[in-house]
């Protein structure tokens, strides 16, 4: 199959199932809390409704307020297209160099932060300040984590890191020393997606908001874009971590239509499993106070550093 076809299939699948991730998380959390919970596909209806609502623009905003939703959603879509989530060997695979990915992630966060500050309210400023701290201090961790993967697989494109074997997800089996790096990646994913213990996506109290504070003043289509971007990022990270850890098939250029169906099905399965894990995590541990997030970030950094050191050591043996 053509690599362009692979990319198109991946775009379609990921963009379509993205709201499902948020819905599934909320559904599982509700069940854990003993509530009935909304149906997992509620976010689809929510975003559709929001697109039709009135767009209220803050008077203190400038062109930045209007650019932010596009920039944030654009960076999330870029990740969805480029990373090996459903298919490996897509047309844009060379662009999935890990340094580029880290930079585009940071770019998206930078625009999110600037959009939050443009509203001129203290909520926005507070959320932006916290988010910027987390993103800045997470940058070395991201680079070190992926550097360890790059060393182990010999490829600096994330696509290449996963495509190393015929069945994706065998990475941990072939290289068990990468467990620490994978754990660091999980921590990075939690921090980037505003999940426990760094942030609570369900709250609107100023003491506890980070991501929610920055999107507080958006409404209508812009809010839909921002929320969808958050869901997309969550999906992307969930699938990425799953592809490193779970031996379930991905589409490749050599796949037949049956393989494509199998891969799509396994994608949904991966998503359900990962969202279940996230919900379990959020129901079990408490969110950290922001000033203790330093410990979280330091822990992730040293985990990534040790993972890289282990990868280097294992090459000597």
């Amino acid at each position: 199959m053509n690599s362009i076809v692979l990319t198109v299939i991946q775009i379609l699948v990921v963009l379509l199932i993205a709201p499902l991730s948020i819905g599934l998380t909320r559904f599982f959390k509700a069940r854990f809390q003993g509530r009935h919970g909304a149906v997992p596909w509620l976010p689809y209806l929510t975003y559709a409704t929001m697109m039709k609502k009135e767009n209220v623009i803050s008077t203190s905003g400038s062109w930045m307020l209007r650019t932010t939703p596009y920039a944030v959603l654009g960076s999330a879509v870029f990740l969805a297209i480029v990373l090996p989530l459903v298919a490996t060997g897509g047309a844009l695979a060379p662009s999935s160099n890990f340094i580029v990915v880290a930079a585009v992630l940071a770019l998206g966060s930078a625009f999110l932060v600037m959009g939050g500050l443009d509203t001129g309210s203290a909520f926005g400023g507070m959320g932006s300040s916290r988010e910027m701290t987390i993103v800045s201090l997470l940058e070395p961790t991201v680079i070190l984590t992926f550097a360890a993967f790059a060393l182990a697989t010999g490829s600096s494109a994330i696509d290449g890191m996963i495509a190393g074997s015929s069945v994706a997800g065998e990475l941990l089996i072939t290289a068990p020393y990468l467990l620490l790096s994978l754990l660091a990646l999980v921590l990075v994913a939690l921090a980037e997606n505003a999940r426990y213990p760094v942030d609570n996506a369900a709250t609107h109290l100023e003491l506890t908001m980070v991501h929610e504070a920055m999107v507080l003043d958006y409404s209508g289509p812009y809010l839909a874009m921002m929320e969808y971007a958050a869901a997309l990022k969550l999906t992307v990270f969930a699938l990425l971590v799953a592809n490193f850890a779970m031996p379930l098939p991905l589409i490749m250029t050599s796949s037949s239509p049956l393989d494509v169906l199998l891969a799509v099905g396994s994608t949904i399965l991966k998503l359900v499993i990962m969202m279940f894990a996230v919900a379990l995590l959020e129901s079990t541990i408490a969110k950290m106070r922001f000033y203790r997030v330093q410990e979280f970030l330091t822990g992730a950094f040293f985990m990534a550093l040790t993972g890289l050191a282990l990868a280097l050591l294992s090459q000597l043996l």
Binding site: M51, N55, V56, I57, S58, T59, S60, G61, S62, W63, M64, Y70, L73, G74, F78, I81, V82, S95, N97, I99, V100, A103, V104, A106, A110, V113, M114, L117, D118, G120, S121, G124, G125, S128, S129, M132, T133, V135, S136, L137, L138, E139, P140, I143, L144, A147, A150, L151, S156, L216, G220, P221, M225, F290, Y291, F301, L305, L308, L312, Q315
Partner: protein, 675 residues
């Protein structure tokens, strides 16, 4: 273009700069414009020459030779009036010469409205003349091929910039200027001593002659010379702990001069350092390379941390310069280290990444300083807390500054990202086959550069957001309007150059000599190193394509006209611009997370206003961030020197006879002992 044409253009460029300086001194009010226009035109000539020589493969331009081809008796070289020194460009200095010239063109255009705006604060004639002299000095340094010329023009740079720092005559400028003068002169002395030691004491040595002499130097002399040169060039470039003059001097100079100092003068220091290291020395000991790396990493980290904390926009940019220069030195150090440990790919990639970062830093830092000049002119304050709301009032300007700020933060698709990408990718690629010591060093550097990149983004987002977004925090900011074309055009051009340089970085890298990093043909524009590849243009097209698609989709799926303006949600209470986040608040988490290093102190003083009610008080809060090298390094040295001077002062009892006897004693001792 023939060599003669190039030589003539080069001579026009240099003479034009000097002439601009002379024209500036004319008492006519039109002299200001005339001087800057002459400066811009001659710099344009210089840019053409510089780019041509830098991108040609075998061009080496020696000025007397090119103008007077060798006569039959071989006597036409060198101008005897200059002690037989030759001046010329080779490929390496041409890179820096083109950076200097391009920046000068734009700064000269900016200076016309800028000095007209500030005609009351500065003596415009002397500022223009000194700026021209400053640029002339920098051109001279790049064109010199021997010690005497190099040091003469180096001193011209130092003295001209000293007077420029003093230009507005305030107390703060005087103090900053003197600190700058002291450190730059000690540094110049160190460079001169180092070069003397290397050349074995010959003042008029050509650099090529020194290259022949250095392999035979004794070990101790060589090491001392290296230490002196590192101190000299490092203090000029702003390496910690010799950087203390940078955050004081750069903000005090007129803005276009700050742009020149930060954008180009620091690169001249890098040029001098690399000229010695790569072209004059046979090889350097391991301790020296490690020192460069350590100092570079420390400078980058310290620079970015203090940039994050800074609330004065020009000091923030000065610290950001320290950070970028630290990164450049780190890359140079890693390149040398890799060369010594046998990873040749990493050497080439690291050194070219350093050069490319130097070039891109010159572009964006100049742009940012020029924009800070516009902002300060509008808001009449350098504090970030007095700005705000400028994006609504100066839309085109704010877009250009946003582009420059994102470049400064090393974001794709702009040029500095390409340089950092090259470096990081090459490091990762070299990890597999590196020697153990190199592996450890590379891992540490990977972590450090990642850390610095993250915080650099923080500092730039803070600067842009607090200055431009939300509502204006003061009345002056509320009254701001889009700046005049004379201010706006140079900044927009610089932002554009930063983008183009990034998009076409493979081509540029190939043309300046990194043939292993990037191919020459325009079809495959990829930088490939260390096992990875980056195609900047296609990356940009992908991002642009996605944005366009989203733009169209939104129009399809929702009604664009269904919109309303309303104030920000405020819980039902009226909000004022004072309630917006300030720069101090925005950087508070970083202050907190790094409190052990930064030791920021908040002092709140409350003075009661009425005698019976202590709660009605006027409160002052000061936030003091101490700097460890002031307390541990500079203050003890300063007090030691003062104490020594006091001791020597006891000798001065006022009696002439005592002084004369001392002189006679010295004479006697000299005659008996020395002769």
């Amino acid at each position: 273009m023939s060599l003669t044409t190039l030589a003539i253009a080069l001579v026009i460029s240099v003479v034009g700069t000097f002439a601009a300086g002379l024209v500036a001194l004319w008492p006519d009010p039109r002299a200001h414009r005339a001087s800057n226009i002459i400066l811009a035109v001659s710099a344009a000539f210089g840019a053409v020459v510089g780019i041509y020589v830098a991108t040609g493969s075998n061009v080496s331009l020696i000025v007397p030779e090119a103008l007077y081809p060798v006569a039959a008796d071989g006597s036409a070289h060198a101008w005897p009036m200059f002690y037989g020194m030759v001046f010329g460009l080779d490929r390496f200095s041409a890179i820096f010469f083109s950076i200097l010239s391009v920046v000068t063109v734009l700064v000269a255009v900016y200076a016309i409205p800028y000095l007209e705006h500030y005609a009351a604060s500065y003596n415009v004639r002397s500022v223009n003349a000194l700026t021209a002299l400053f640029i002339f000095g920098m051109q001279g340094v790049l064109l010199s091929t021997n010690i005497f010329g190099f040091m003469t023009f180096w001193e011209i740079i130092s003295i001209a910039s000293f007077f420029l720092v003093l230009a507005d005559g305030t107390e703060a400028s005087r103090k900053a200027g003197f600190l700058y003068l002291i450190i730059t002169h000690i540094g110049a002395g160190a460079i001169m001593s180092g070069l003397f030691l290397l050349s074995g004491g010959a003042l008029l040595s050509d650099f090529s002659v020194i290259a022949l002499v250095t392999p035979e130097l004794p070990e101790v002399t060589f090491s001392i010379a290296l230490g002196l040169l590192l101190f000299g060039f490092g203090s000029k470039a702003g390496l910690v702990p010799f950087h203390v003059w940078l955050p004081e001097a750069h903000p005090q100079a007129p803005t276009h001069v700050s742009a020149l100092m930060s954008g180009v003068m620091l690169k001249i220091a890098v040029y001098g350092f690399l000229r010695v290291l790569l072209f004059m020395l046979p090889g350097v000991p391991m301790w020296f390379v490690l020192t460069i790396v350590v100092l570079g990493v420390i400078s980058a980290i310290v620079g970015v941390l203090y940039a994050v904390l800074e609330r004065d926009i020009k000091r923030l940019l000065a610290y950001s310069s320290i950070e970028n220069l630290g990164l450049i030195f780190t890359m140079i150090g890693v390149g040398l280290l890799a060369g010594q440990e046998g990873s040749v790919d990493l050497t080439q990639a690291a050194l070219y990444a350093a050069l490319f970062l130097a070039a891109s830093h010159a572009i964006f830092k100049t742009g940012l300083f020029l924009s800070s000049g516009v902002i300060i002119a509008a808001v009449h304050s350098r504090r970030l807390e007095a700005m705000g709301g400028l994006a609504q009032r100066m839309p085109m300007f704010s877009v250009a500054v946003c582009v420059l700020a994102l470049s400064a933060a090393a974001m794709p698709p702009f040029a500095p990202f390409m340089a950092e990408w090259t470096f990081l990718q090459a490091v990762v690629g070299a990890l597999t086959e590196a020697t153990p010591m190199l592996k450890v060093a590379l891992v540490v550097i990977l972590a450090a550069v990642g850390f610095v990149a993250g915080l650099a983004l923080f500092a730039m987002v803070k600067m842009f957001a607090i200055a431009f977004l939300a509502k204006p925090r003061t009345d002056e900011a509320a009254a701001a309007v889009e700046p005049k074309p004379g201010f706006l055009i140079p900044i927009v051009v610089l932002a554009f150059i930063s983008l183009i340089l990034g998009l076409f970085s493979p081509l540029v890298l190939n043309k300046i000599g990194a043939v292993d990093l990037a191919p020459a043909d325009l079809g495959t524009q990829v930088i490939s190193t260390g096992g990875g590849g980056l195609a900047p243009l296609s990356l940009f097209l992908v991002i642009a394509g996605i944005s366009l698609a989203l733009f169209l989709l939104r129009r399809l799926l929702s009604d664009v006209k269904f919109e309303r303006s309303y104030q920000t949600w405020d819980c039902g209470q009226p909000t004022t611009p004072r309630m917006e986040y300030t720069a101090t608040a925005f950087s508070a988490p970083i202050r907190f997370f790094f409190r052990f290093f930064l030791r920021a102190q908040k002092v709140v003083t409350a003075t009661p206003l009425t005698p019976n009610n202590p709660w009605v008080a006027s409160r002052t809060m000061s936030l003091l961030v101490s700097q460890v090298w002031y307390d541990r390094l500079y203050a003890p040295i300063g007090s030691g020197v003062t104490r020594l001077a006091g001791l020597v002062g006891r000798l001065q009892n006022g009696s002439i006879q005592f002084y004369i006897s001392l002189i006679l004693l010295a004479l006697l001792v000299t005659l008996i002992v020395a002769l």
